[in-house]
Symmetry: D2
């Protein structure tokens, strides 16, 4: 049995992770941590776990993890994560980091975009990006994996193969994303107050969201080709799900059909990336680790519609998928 520990176990992604690991036949959760004063039953933090997981939430202790944990899932905010990842990785644990701390290419990129210190600059740049569909081999050999951002997952999966295969123009890509509110985390804020987001839709962080550069970097890292995209996220009144509508110019002679075929070919062996004929709805990936992608002609452009469950393929499902790859288990187990 793989012994799993979760650092930062009180949020929505941690809960989703726990629910998936409960179904995993080769994993035993041994440690859940948070900044609690006293050990607290996990069901007091997540009532849905009543009588399903009999484990205490305790304070994080790296030595305790060294003894009782094989793989640590680190669900901390950016900048708070790298110190923990470092001390766990240095102690020999496998670590899957949910934060943005290890996703970008360089320390300079991280600091430019996140305006924060980084506690582990040497490791940054040697950590694979946790999309097994693209980086499976590196992930299989990695000690630390950077779990992808939710919006980037929905955009990179369709874009990367199309860019590499020269199917689309790289210079003018528009990514319009719609997300459920759980992506904003569990801390109450005005923007996520029910009467504020119910019956309303709004754009936010237009031109400034940190997932924009992440998309561009990872597509380039994988394909070797620079792209220029713009990214606008929108908050819509639902709990989970992301739909990204991506507007691209096809390369000369690349029809919608050929583009769909290119993706279908590339993902033929990837169970979680599904190229669909009908237009996908987030409902149809809800609770699954799938990314549904459809292609449509749109005047001289092509529309790519891509859907994920932000808490599963956009966070905790991807993390378990990465764990499976890192430990040489069947990639789809428990997913």
């Amino acid at each position: 049995m793989i012994r799993a520990g979760i650092v930062g176990a009180t949020g929505y992604t941690a809960l989703e992770l726990i629910l998936i690991l409960l179904r995993h036949p080769q994993v035993e959760m041994t440690r859940l941590t948070s900044r609690v004063d006293d050990p607290t039953p996990v069901a007091a933090v997540h009532p849905v776990l009543r009588e399903r997981l009999d484990l205490m939430v305790t304070r994080y202790d790296p030595e305790d993890f060294r003894q009782h944990v094989d793989v640590a899932f680190c669900c901390l905010p950016h900048a708070a994560s790298s110190p923990v990842v470092r001390e766990l990785a240095d102690r020999g644990l496998r670590v899957i980091d949910f934060s943005a701390d290890y996703r970008l290419d360089t320390l300079a990129d991280f600091q430019a975009i996140y305006a924060a210190e980084h506690a582990d600059p040497e490791r940054l740049g040697n950590v694979p990006y946790g999309l097994p569909e693209l980086f499976r081999n590196s992930i299989a050999e990695a000690k630390v994996v950077a779990n992808p951002g939710c919006f980037p997952t929905s955009a990179i999966l369709p874009l990367a193969p199309l860019v590499r295969d020269g199917m689309i123009e790289t210079g003018d890509i528009v990514i319009d994303s719609k997300t459920g509110v759980s992506g904003g985390g569990r801390t109450p804020k005005a923007a996520f107050h029910f009467p504020e987001c119910n019956e309303s839709v709004a754009a936010y962080a237009v031109g400034t969201h940190r997932h924009g550069p992440e998309i561009n970097q990872i597509v380039r890292r994988w394909s070797g080709i620079e792209i220029e995209s713009v990214f606008v996220p929108h908050l819509i009144p639902m709990t989970r799900g992301i739909l990204s509508t991506i507007y691209v110019h096809p390369a000369p002679n690349a029809s919608a059909d050929r583009i769909a075929e290119c993706l279908a070919d590339f993902y033929r062996e990837s169970r979680f990336a599904r190229i669909t004929d009908s237009l996908p709805a987030t409902r149809d990936v809800s609770g699954t680790n799938c990314c549904d992608i459809a292609i449509r002609p749109l005047g001289r452009r092509i529309a790519i519609i891509s859907t994920i469950d932000n808490l599963v393929k956009g966070a905790s499902g991807a993390a378990v998928q990465n764990m499976n790859v890192m430990f040489g288990i069947e990639e789809t187990l428990a997913l």
Copy 2:
């Protein structure tokens, strides 16, 4: 008092129209029609009107309208509308038509896009498009006005002045719209079944929605300049509201600030078009006749975010605004 009649009074836009007209000090509703077998109290059709409007829904009769109605609001589907509009206009009534029958330039356009017969081809082309912000003078003199489509309203208001003033490139405009479910009408359908659209978002009619050509034609009609835009609507889990995110290339030297200024100048006297500094949410136009518009830089592009209440400025509020203009009343009355 202006005597108002509504043809097709059972839908959501008709109800919204009734609620607005109830507040209008110079209007008396005299006729509400539907394909009822027997006269039916309007409160049986719209329970919210209990004890607020004591009027029967009856079958439509043009002669009856001629005697008792000064302005007819025609809330029928496309193709069903033009025969009614014609017989009412021929009888001397003012008519505000909610359908698409009189919005496009030519019969050929109508037939190409709607694949339907048109009962009034002579009048088509001589009917102003009911956006008083752009076509106020023609509307003031018109007998028949084509009430705009909901998506087009949200897109044309920001685009038209920018195109005319050369602030944006006209060749590559992306319009990504998000709409509440009331836009789909009151007839139950699978796509609008609560468990199907709750907790889900999906694109629909990608590249084929009929409001796409309407946007392009009306911008050209008003500005004299041809544009090329693509349009993708999305259904999101709320009842009312439209947010359109419009991705444009600024003309050389046209910054986001200059573009915002251009719109603010143009709409300085238009109370319902509001250029906002903060990013608008549909909640903040809900129940109002306003269109809130914000401008943001976005890499080499500009993002235009535009919000309306699809049932008010996107339908019935616009209709009353048009009526006010047609009858020489203060344009904002009851709105």
Copy 3:
């Protein structure tokens, strides 16, 4: 023109009040207050008011109110309200208080239930309860009116006449209420965080909610008859609306029909209390000042179903109705 001021103008009930007063032909809003550091445009607090109300939110000053305000709406929390009400009433203003400070019979009741100091105990007990349907004459002569609680409005309106007329047993009344989230106010809290209340329903404050005793007291105050009811509120995933299902035993010989008739008779002249044949939905009172009530037989019991918009008849609509009565204006004006 009546000059109106609102103390505590940033919440949802204050916004609803502003929207109603904007439609009121005999009211001019002159003062809006909050604990702002500097005067702030009201549209910055409530974006929906952009270009509709050009007024600053300022700090509250009783002398300033004395000079510029005829009627003050006090939208403060309990205990914070009575000091303000006292100093405004002592300066001769009419005051409509949204808090619970003046609703109960005695200081002892207030302190027992709210466990708080009261700054105006002399006035408490001489302030009419602001349901004009029941206390119209007292309200017409009052300087200060206690605006009712939202749940109590939905329960008292049907119960009071039935208790007085001996139509129901008074000893065993069950009130099961369902409310939208706006009733919880505008301050973000975990219970009102979108992902927590979306797709979920829960009971809260079972047996301890302060509106329980308010219901019992006001029914007794009006009818002279003691009742014993239990009250359980539930939070449901919508923004506005309250539905109360009230389970009563009919008095001997009092059928459902007779009970419905009793209410219909009593409210024949009250436009806002509507006895309906069909089962009411909160949607059908949304945005209105109405309370829709239906009666159904239920085994040996009777079910009373009562619906209001918690922000209108449950708060700000009632307040304007009270103002109309206090100033001798038509009671339904602007409502």
Copy 4:
């Protein structure tokens, strides 16, 4: 491997059943039926199953079932179900019936309440009610099991032990239930049209819902004690979940604490019935087979709050739990 077939595989409960069975290590789905003209991939009916279940939906054929199915889940409407159940049971299959056809005691009861023919009156009355918490032994030996109604499950689980143990008065029980919209099925209807049920709550079938008698009968069948309850369901704007608030009079000397203890004792070994200290929300049982129950004092009454996921413990989870019991598998497997 147990070979499972589903008759009527296109609805929401069937989909939930398929999702649970996909996780079941000892079940292989072999047949899915519907009134299709031609065999149709199940993913065309339920897009969420894309690449997860490669099975065709075909027309129902009892002989085909006899050869390829060990356990049939019959998801047909009442009256349509009994002919199918009979021919499958007569062919030796185990059958779990989702309809109401076998839930009531006698043919007379069924006909009185459902006003329909019954194709299998001999078997009716010998079929255990599928709540293993109460009827485990009968279910273990049964060929046919009547899967419980969703509302009854939420009410019977807390009521039955309390009635049997004399903890509550039996003569005056009020059951106020709130349900998500998926309980209404997948067929679009006006009542379930998104703009009609979003932002609204309403009672329905007051005093006439067929689940009322089911509750009373099953409590009596299990406890031997007649009860008299009234039942009112309410439709609230969410997809899944039921919360029932049950108002009872405690027996003399039966405090809230003793009542909670009685339930906790009775369900100590039942993993799916959880007596909770905190007030349960449907969110915390969503996607689980659990029924969370809390007890609160309420004046002279006691409030019992009970929550389930209507599609899981209220339908398909219960069905799999029943199957596990019938086949001697661990009861909680896949749940």
